[in-house]
Symmetry: C2
Subunit: 166 residues, 2 copies
């Protein structure tokens, strides 16, 4: 394995580790727990999960790996704050999010494996050719790292809603 | 810049971005806010800040960049849960943590700049030569990525304690 491949593999492992931790944490919560706020007056756990799921879904086109599979999630979980848009009952159950989480993870993971080192350092989908010439750090790899931290950020919040088993 | 250097620079930028966000968030909280729990019955904000500061400090020897400068933080913020060890009053003010946060950031940032690509892929300080042969991913770069996610994880929690300015 070349040095640069080792670096990318490390970053992919880190992304996957956080995705798996999030999937496990959210997937094991009861509906009652999903509807709890992570702290008084703050987002509900279901919102964080939907937000991260929509974010993963949006990563597919951002990294040039295909089209989104659930763009409708943005209305509830990205464009608007929690509780301002009626949530679809099946989403509330968390079962849909669990499936979409697995689907997006699989699509991304398969797509990642097809990217070369040079591909990772190419521009991501939300930056123009012109801007990328001036700011070459706005590449796919930077997005991967930033999104890993984004998952960890909300995972830490969701973790607060776990109860000690009695 | 070589491909592998670009990858490392991206990871360093991501680490620094999270460190700076954390330093700004914690550093701007009042003493009253630092003593608040991030959610009912959970860690106080001061504990999260001390925990991340101790973690940064421990990163210095783990990456082979020198000796820790404040190992005494571990007793209060790592080895024991929040509120089980009396905190030193000056630490409670947050002023000491603010200084130590800046100091450890500076030491790490300077140390990072001296590491070559090959250095980043060498084993970190908590893995034996023997284990590293079997598990070459247990390198400095992996630690950098994992610690970035660790900062983001607790940053997300601390963010919950921020109040909307009225």
């Amino acid at each position: 394995m070349t040095l640069e491949t080792s670096l990318i593999v490390s970053a992919l492992r880190n992304w996957r580790s956080n995705v798996d931790r999030a999937g496990k944490l959210f997937g094991n919560l009861s509906q009652e727990q999903l509807l709890q706020e992570v702290a008084p007056g703050k987002n509900r756990v279901i919102y964080l999960w939907g937000h991260l799921t929509a974010s993963n879904d949006a990563l597919i086109p951002l990294l040039g790996l295909g089209a989104r599979i659930h763009p409708e999630l943005d209305l509830m979980f990205v464009s608007n704050p929690d509780r301002t848009v009626p949530t679809v009952p099946t989403i509330l159950l968390g079962e849909d999010l669990k499936i979409i989480w697995q689907e997006t993870t699989q699509i991304l993971w398969t797509g990642f494996s097809k990217l070369s080192v040079a591909d990772w350092l190419q521009k991501h989908g939300a930056v123009s050719e012109e801007d990328f010439l001036r700011e070459p750090h706005r590449n796919r790899f930077t997005i991967l790292l930033a999104r890993t931290a984004h998952i960890a950020y909300h995972l830490g919040q969701a973790k607060l809603s776990e109860r000690v088993q009695t």
